[in-house]
Symmetry: C2
Subunit: 195 residues, 2 copies
DNA sequence: CCTACCGATCGGTAGG
DNA sequence: CCTACCGATCGGTAGG
């Protein structure tokens, strides 16, 4: 009888979805187990049957985010222009899914504290993002497709920072910020070839 | 007898300082009146004698931040290169005062929510920052000191976003991020004259 | 999965 | 400014 297991897995996914939404709206510390459980229609003790602690639930939310990312990412993309285009596509996706941007921005700011349970996650996340973009800028530089004076490492750091900063401003004053357009123009400005 | 008033004002300043530090470390919602009061050495009821509600204390923290900013800003600086240099000086100042960066990043992320008591503050803050930088880029463009293809409005939005994004990454992985250097190179890249 | 409970903590008030 | 208190809420546990 695998039916029982299936039901449990579906319920767990529902809980993770509800938690991600709550974290986006209220942050991790601001989201109580009771409030998350209510979205799913169970008691907070029932939630703790599926996830033993509040931190375990956060870990599950971050794991699923990573899983979704690597799914979308298709590891087949080699360093270069396509990686940059992939980031623009991600930004387009995010504009249509503000809840994800909320979640990410709220958690990233909270997790600046070294004792935050998601701190190590974001340390790894930032390093991986920077390294990936760095590699692509380096490949472009080697082909002479990067403007003179643009240093790949610095450009990668700056690009990631720009994405994050634009997201917060976009969430605060949505009408004032063209998220995708700003990123596209920034990248195009660094290149000697069309994006 | 003005002595009593003076003592009260000093105590209030101490409370605001403690609150700003707490907001930076734990966010607004994460900072209890009891924890803030403890830093000052009074009870939380004593704190409420000086600030009637939790929100009133937040308002006082934001007001002081604005006062400090406009003090440092010297309204004498006309739009142009000096305004950009002023932002770089601000970044240098921030690197030596991580608590301020903490406060700002934490509150900005929390205040993305429209019902956050600091939401309107950040809406105004972002608009003012963008308008100020926009004006300077426009002045530079008029003098032909902006690289071709660089649009002042977009460049201003991007510059503010970059500052914010770099700050979060710097707080998360301080060793990996050169805050001032990254900003300087970004700006220099937009200009046809040396910064 | 539930009800019922625990100790801890929250913002705010009463009364001095 | 204090002590003492209020009702509400928190994460987690016991016991089914």
């Amino acid at each position: 009888m695998t039916g029982g297991y299936l039901k449990g897995r579906i319920r767990r996914e529902d809980i993770i979805t509800a938690a991600a939404a709550a974290y986006g709206e209220l942050g991790y510390h601001g989201s109580s187990l009771r409030a998350i459980a209510k979205r799913v229609g169970i008691s907070h003790a029932g939630l703790l049957y599926h996830f033993p602690t509040k931190e375990a639930l956060l870990a599950a939310v971050l794991e699923r985010r990573d899983a979704e990312d690597s799914e979308r990412e298709q590891l087949t993309v080699p360093p270069g222009l396509d990686v940059l285009r992939h980031f623009l596509a991600l930004a387009e996706y995010n504009v249509r899914h503000p809840g994800i941007v909320d979640l990410y921005s709220r958690l990233a700011a909270e997790a600046v504290a070294p004792d935050h349970p998601a701190h190590e996650y974001f340390v790894r996340h930032y390093r991986a993002a920077r390294d990936g973009v760095h590699e692509s800028f380096a490949a472009l530089a080697a082909r002479g497709e990067l403007r003179a004076g643009v240093e790949p490492g610095m450009a990668a750091l700056t690009f990631i920072a720009l994405m994050d900063g634009l997201q917060v401003q976009w969430l605060t004053t949505p009408g004032d910020v063209d998220l995708v357009g700003s990123l596209r123009r920034y990248l195009q400005n660094l290149l000697t070839v069309p994006l």
